[in-house]
């Protein structure tokens, strides 16, 4: 794709050469009409288009074809409506999660998901990747907080689903379809979110363990106790025999003190961080979440009862003393394995083998790296009926295959 054609639509200052993928120019429309023109251009010239937010999670997606150019929403940004009294917010897709947070925080409201490095993540990108955050245990998956979306379809129509109210069942929930669709259906241009409440306070309890098994047992005890932590995290920073358990309590002050008392009886002398220290620790924990720009991350999700065999299978599959950092969230049963920066991730064969082994134990696996993956790592067979329905849905939106990401069907993507 010549940059000239893109510049004629969005202006020279809004075209970048080869930013995220070598040789693939990126157009940054500043209004939806320009995005529509870019769709038209791709369609008339039979070109493949990659949809992007800020580009930070590109390595989570899977490319069916090499794109001719990319369309980023990063300059389609701004808050459209913020209704503190109703606890809702509507913003353009390119708005950074940090901007959303800072807008709502002043009114005592929060955004879910609480993603790592919110300044690098756009609202549309968070929706398209189906991302959840460190608040998932307390707030649930991020996708459930999306009240409505506006999308630009490959045929140039802008369509809306849901709305901006906290309760609404009018029409099909198409926004659920866009959540986690990795830009294979349409461009999310705008979304409305349900907001949560900024907690009065936060306390983090931390303990160290020599063995994973004891650490996991302690985490399970916390989860079984009558407390409602915001996060329960086990981390291991490249030291095989050293696991730290962090329990984040947040909410009304009286309530978290009450929960602290309860947990103090359960855990033996935990370190307690309060106020600034607690906030700093909470942020650090959030930042331990996978960052595709620094390292390859295997993200594994499973049912809690299968967590132990899944970890065992993972350790087995990665071989003796892997240069890897583990982040476990036993409450939501996810395991993130950060493969040390600089160390090469295991090859495709190992990953596929690992993925299949984990799948057999009921887990799903995603590899998140710093570049989009090709088809070769996404070869796991899926239920044919399910796959063909997904294909039909994809063809409904994009019959001429303008968009070059593909539905992330089972297995590694």
């Amino acid at each position: 794709m010549s940059s000239n054609s893109l510049e004629s639509i969005v202006g020279r200052e809004n075209v970048e050469e080869s930013c995220v993928i070598p040789g693939v120019p990126v157009a940054h429309p500043v209004e939806v009409d320009q995005a529509r023109e870019l769709f038209k251009l791709a369609s008339s010239e039979g070109q493949k288009l990659l949809l992007l937010g800020k580009g930070s999670k590109l390595g989570w997606s899977c490319l069916a074809n090499r794109p001719d150019f990319a369309l980023s929403t990063s300059r389609l940004s701004g808050i459209i409506e913020f209704e503190p009294g109703d606890g809702t917010l509507t913003a353009l897709a390119g708005t950074s999660m940090e901007e959303l947070n800072s807008t709502t925080r002043g009114a005592g409201l929060t955004i879910t998901p609480d993603v790592p490095r919110p300044e690098t993540a756009s609202l549309g990108g968070v929706i398209a990747t189906g991302a959840s955050g460190s608040d998932r245990l307390a707030m649930g998956p991020g996708r459930l907080h999306v009240l409505g979306t506006r999308v630009l379809q490959p045929n140039g129509e802008v369509t809306r689903s849901g709305g901006n109210l906290v309760k609404n069942v009018t029409g099909y929930d198409l926004m659920r379809l866009y959540g986690g669709s990795f830009g294979c259906l349409a461009l999310v241009t705008e979304a409305s979110l349900r907001l949560g409440t900024v907690p009065e306070g936060t306390i983090v309890l931390s303990m160290d363990f020599d063995e994973l098994e004891t650490a996991l047992g302690a985490a399970e005890d916390v989860l079984a106790a009558r407390v409602s932590p915001r996060a329960v995290t086990l981390e291991n920073q490249l030291h095989p025999g050293q696991w730290s358990l962090h329990v984040v309590l947040s909410g009304r002050l009286a309530h978290i003190e009450f929960e602290l008392d309860r947990l103090a009886q359960l855990l033996k002398s935990p370190r307690v961080s309060r106020e600034t220290a607690a906030d700093e620790l909470k942020c650090r924990l959030r930042d331990l979440e996978p960052d595709s720009r620094e390292r390859a991350v295997l993200h594994v999700g499973v049912q809690p009862s299968r967590l132990r065999p899944t970890i065992a299978a993972l350790l087995d599959g990665l071989g003796p003393s892997p240069r890897a950092e583990f982040l476990l969230q036993p409450g939501i049963a996810t395991v993130d394995v950060g493969l040390e920066p600089g160390s090469s991730p295991p090859g495709p064969d190992t990953l596929l083998f690992l993925s299949r082994t984990l799948r057999a134990s009921g887990a799903s696996t995603t590899l998140r790296v710093d570049r989009p993956m090709g088809m070769e790592l996404a070869a796991d067979p899926d239920d044919p009926l399910r796959s063909s329905l997904m294909e039909r849905l994809r063809a409904t939106y994009d019959p001429s295959r303008l968009l070059c990401t593909r539905p992330p069907l089972g297995g590694l993507r």
Partner: protein, 473 residues
């Protein structure tokens, strides 16, 4: 119905699963939208997923339209049969298949009654959160299809937030197994999309839902107001101040009177203009903090009294009044048109007033009992369906209320769905391209559009067979 087809179907479901007899088909003619009726050609009640697959395959081969049915408590005509169509009901699929305490989920057949699921997991200290007021009768499958809500959905969200997996029999009679509970959906979120599809994508035969730990303490407060406006404003302020009750339900004067005169009498004071039922859950500290904060708001809004239920029995009684309110309204008139709209929570008072004005202009009896915390209003119009003029006025008033709601930034439905009732009002809320993409998505699931045709999506010429002309407005 062609005898060989009936024979083939009987061979699958047996006599217990087939309703052929004309009089026995009468109860299936409508759902809670009693003035829309259509006799089904046949009613099939498969006993399990296998039988449902067999039936759906035959109906597919014969090109027969299908309407899925749970308990028929829907209020929008969603389960009203279509002309020439067959009803496939889930009344014989009521088993709880699994309660997984460690992973906190339950698997149940779609015909299981909502309340039975909560009962089944109560001994394990778990609960299923969505609690429609019809929970003693409505089914989990119907809840999934309508993305149903209920009083506690203020805190926990509608059904969609609780469904983890589904087994779906496709319109072609194939099994789409999405029942493995996944941390995040693999690929497109088909389960999320199916919830709220109002029986137009397929027949759900099995549902996997998230269970939550039952709260440690639950407290119910009855706040009594001299004026409905005050009750509405108190709710808006509780939300704006970010207090954290689990339910906020308002009942107005006429509803209170109907409830108190019925078997659901809950001790609501007959002289009040409105009562607000507030539920608070959590640790002792959480309950106390919320109670104190909410009490201060109530005081600012002229509350006459805020009674904290002292015993579990008293608490249950307060709720029985709320949940029995619709039943109690039978005392006002034989029929009830239950409207269901949502308004921004900052505009509760304005829209409640507006609906009162509209109904008094039409000379109709309006009662309000609603999920105030979500801004989910239920202006209920009592009428007698034998009085055609009154029915016309009811529908006209319903339309006007809807227009006012939309103009105030509200939406057509918060929990009952669109069905037949609001189908023709969809263009008030959605543009034609919005509706076109919904129609296209529907066609991806149901290529022949035989599942519940004529519901939810307004019919454009030639788009599909038109079994209903729409409501008799």
């Amino acid at each position: 119905m062609n005898p060989p087809i009936v024979r083939a179907l009987r061979a699958i479901v047996g006599d217990a699963g087939l309703v052929v007899d004309e009089t026995r088909r009468i109860p299936y003619e409508c759902d809670g939208l009693a003035f829309e009726r259509q006799k089904p050609r046949l009613v099939l009640l498969p006993g399990n997923t296998e039988e449902a697959l067999g039936c759906m395959r035959i109906l597919h081969e014969e090109g027969i339209p299908i309407v899925a049915r749970g308990a028929g408590t829907g209020l929008t005509g969603g389960a009203t049969p279509v002309e020439g169509g067959v009803v496939v009901g889930t009344a014989r699929m009521r088993r709880v298949l699994e309660i997984n305490v460690q992973d906190r989920y339950a698997r149940a057949e779609a015909g299981l009654v909502n309340l039975d699921l909560s009962r089944a997991c109560a001994d394990d200290g778990l609960m299923y959160a969505p609690d429609p007021s019809s929970q003693m009768a409505c089914t989990i499958g119907g809840n999934v299809a309508n993305n149903s809500g209920g009083p506690h959905c203020f805190k926990y969200g509608n059904t969609s937030r609780h469904v983890l997996g589904l087994k779906i029999v496709t319109p072609e009679g194939e099994l789409l197994d999405l029942s493995r509970p996944e941390t995040d959906p693999e690929g497109l979120d088909l389960v999320g999309l199916f919830v709220g599809s109002e029986g137009m994508f397929g027949l759900a035969t099995e549902v996997t839902v998230r269970l939550l730990p039952a709260p440690e303490n639950v407290e119910t407060v009855l706040a009594i107001f001299p004026d409905l406006d005050d009750a509405c404003d108190a709710v808006s302020e509780i939300i704006a101040e970010r207090w954290d009750p689990s339910a906020l339900e308002i009942l107005d004067r006429l509803t209170i009177q109907a409830v108190e005169a019925s078997i659901y009498a809950a001790g609501y004071p007959a002289e009040a203009d409105a009562v607000l039922l507030i539920e608070i859950e959590g640790s002792r500290a959480e309950c106390d903090a919320n109670y104190n904060g909410i009490s201060a708001v109530l005081d600012r809004h002229r509350v006459i009294e805020a009674r904290r239920a002292q015993t579990e029995q008293e608490r249950k009684k307060l709720w029985a009044g709320r949940k029995g309110a619709y039943g109690a309204m039978g005392r006002i008139a034989p029929d009830l048109y239950v409207s269901d709209v949502v308004v921004p929570r900052t505009k509760l008072r304005e829209l409640v007033r507006k609906s009162t004005e509209i109904c008094s202009e039409y000379g109709l009896k309006l009662t309000n009992v609603f999920h105030a915390g979500d801004g989910n209003l239920h202006p209920n119009l009592s009428y007698d369906r034998r009085d055609s003029d009154e029915l016309k006025r009811v529908l006209a008033a319903g339309d006007e209320i809807m227009e006012a709601v939309i103009a105030a930034g509200g939406t057509l439905s918060g929990e009952h769905g669109v069905g037949l009732e609001k189908r023709d009002q969809m263009p008030m809320y959605f543009s034609q391209p919005d509706l076109d993409i919904m129609l296209a998505v529907r066609a991806a699931w149901d290529q022949q559009q035989r599942m519940n045709p004529g519901k939810l999506l307004p019919i454009r010429a030639c788009n599909e067979h038109m079994p209903f002309k729409g409501l008799n407005r």
